[in-house]
């Protein structure tokens, strides 16, 4: 094994678990997540020399996100019905109360919706992404802004809305579960 590979394995491979975790939250199936991570690690390896001084974890998660977007776009072009994440940030917040729990792609079973995991999986892509990067991967606002390519102000407002929506649905589910269980 040459020196470059060794350096990559020492510096980047420790974040493989984080990359996989993030991919699982982004992708619609474990298989999709694995494909995304494999592609991301290869791209990371190719672009490794360009990594200077920035945080390795944030850098790797940015690549995972980009690979996921590319995979989604390709699926879309092949005619697979998926909703792409909204690219613009015109302030048009989807009316979440009216749409309720509308998952991306295939429908999520009712009992899965009742867990916090199901609620997060059902969040719009932009919300889910920022929430996972902050709460699970513990990236800073600046790192999230770089990873998602939006200004820090947008990160803050998205995060606030994502948390608000999730908290509301979580509380509603906790109250509703009393009589929702057959």
């Amino acid at each position: 094994m040459d020196e470059r590979r060794r350096r990559f394995e020492a510096q980047v491979l420790p974040y493989l678990d984080a990359a996989y975790r993030f991919a699982r939250w982004l992708a619609r199936s474990p298989a999709d997540a694995e494909d995304v991570v494999q592609e991301a690690m290869l791209r990371a390896y190719r672009g490794f020399d360009g990594l200077r001084g920035s945080d390795v974890k944030a850098w790797l998660l940015t690549i995972v996100r980009n690979c996921h977007s590319t995979a989604l776009r390709q699926q879309h072009q092949r005619g697979v019905m998926v909703s792409l994440p909204e690219e613009d940030d015109s302030g048009a917040i989807p009316d979440l109360v009216a749409t309720g729990l509308e998952p991306e792609g295939e429908s999520i079973r009712r009992d899965e919706q009742l867990t916090l995991e199901g609620l997060i999986a059902a969040l719009p892509h932009d919300y889910r992404e920022v929430l996972v990067l902050r709460e699970i991967e513990e990236l800073s606002y600046r790192e999230i802004a770089e990873a998602t390519q939006v200004p820090i102000g947008t990160v803050m407002s998205r995060l606030a809305r994502a948390r608000l929506v999730l908290k509301k649905q979580w509380s509603a589910q906790a109250e509703g579960s009393l009589h929702a269980v057959p």
Binding site: Y15, L16, E34, Q38, L42, L116, E117, A160, K167
Partner: protein
């Protein structure tokens, strides 16, 4: 209508503000009931997201796939680099034929030996896991039993080569229960022992080398988080969840940063 300060409260919660702003927001929180509720909600959500969600572990098959894809990438890049003597080694057909027959067993043994050899050279991760597991199994988990940092810290001065950060974080759920010494990377490392619920967290501290270690690892079901603070290399080892381990690491990092400033 939401309080106009809600975004700043959130930023404070996420530890994204400086000390002056933090004090400002704390003052606001004292009298704004809406923001107090928001802060509590943010906390509950965080506890839920860090405690209740599934821990997705990277499948072993995926690790293998990634290694193979990097191998292919190396192989594709090698001819371009014109390294002398980098000719590709190929299995002569004779040996290929022999391997499929009687020699297969011997080949398998040789292959097994080839793969097993690297395991003998112990890495620091192996040393840490070894000490962590041994401490849980034996009665020598703690050399100095104390919940008082002012007892544990001076004890380290006499028994180890380093003086790591020590504090009791009982209000936050991480109770200091003592310290011990471990032999690590050819030096006497300090181990601060915390209890979190039913879990033991060992925080190792030793003199950092030229190449500090950062990042996280999972080995045999134990999580390890490495970081460097000042001249010291730290590693926290436990079988708690990532969220619980990271929370302690953050507390220790904040403490080290405060110590460095004062």
């Amino acid at each position: 209508m939401q309080c106009p300060e809600s975004l700043r409260v959130q930023a404070h919660f996420d530890r994204e503000v400086d000390a002056v702003t933090a004090a400002d927001i704390e003052r606001h929180l004292e009298h704004c009931i809406e923001c107090q509720e928001l802060y509590q909600e943010l906390k509950q959500l965080r506890v839920g997201m860090r405690g209740e969600l599934p821990q997705f572990e990277t499948p072993g098959a995926l690790r293998t796939r990634i290694r193979r894809s990097l191998d292919r990438e190396d192989a594709a890049a090698a001819p371009r680099s014109h390294r002398p003597g980098a000719t590709k080694w190929r299995l002569p057909s004779f040996w290929a034929g022999a391997a499929s027959g009687l020699a297969a067993g011997a080949m398998a043994a040789a292959v097994a030996f080839f793969f097993l050899v690297p395991l003998r050279t112990t890495s620091v991760t192996d040393e840490l896991i070894g000490d962590h597991v041994t401490s849980l199994l034996s009665s020598r988990m703690i050399d100095v039993i104390s919940t008082d940092q002012h007892t544990v810290k001076p004890w380290f001065a006499g028994h180890t080569d380093v003086s790591p950060v020590v504090a009791d974080f009982k209000p936050q759920g991480y109770e200091l229960i003592g310290g011990r010494v471990a032999y690590l990377e050819h030096q006497r490392a300090a181990v601060v022992v915390y209890r979190h619920g039913r879990h033991i967290i060992n925080v190792f501290g030793w003199a950092a080398t030229q190449r500090p270690i950062a990042g996280e690892k999972t080995r045999n079901g134990y999580h390890l988080v490495y970081w460097k603070a000042g001249d010291l290399q730290y590693c926290a080892v436990s079988d708690t969840s990532w969220g619980e381990l990271h929370a302690l690491v953050r507390l220790l990092q904040q403490l080290a940063a405060r110590d460095a400033r004062s």
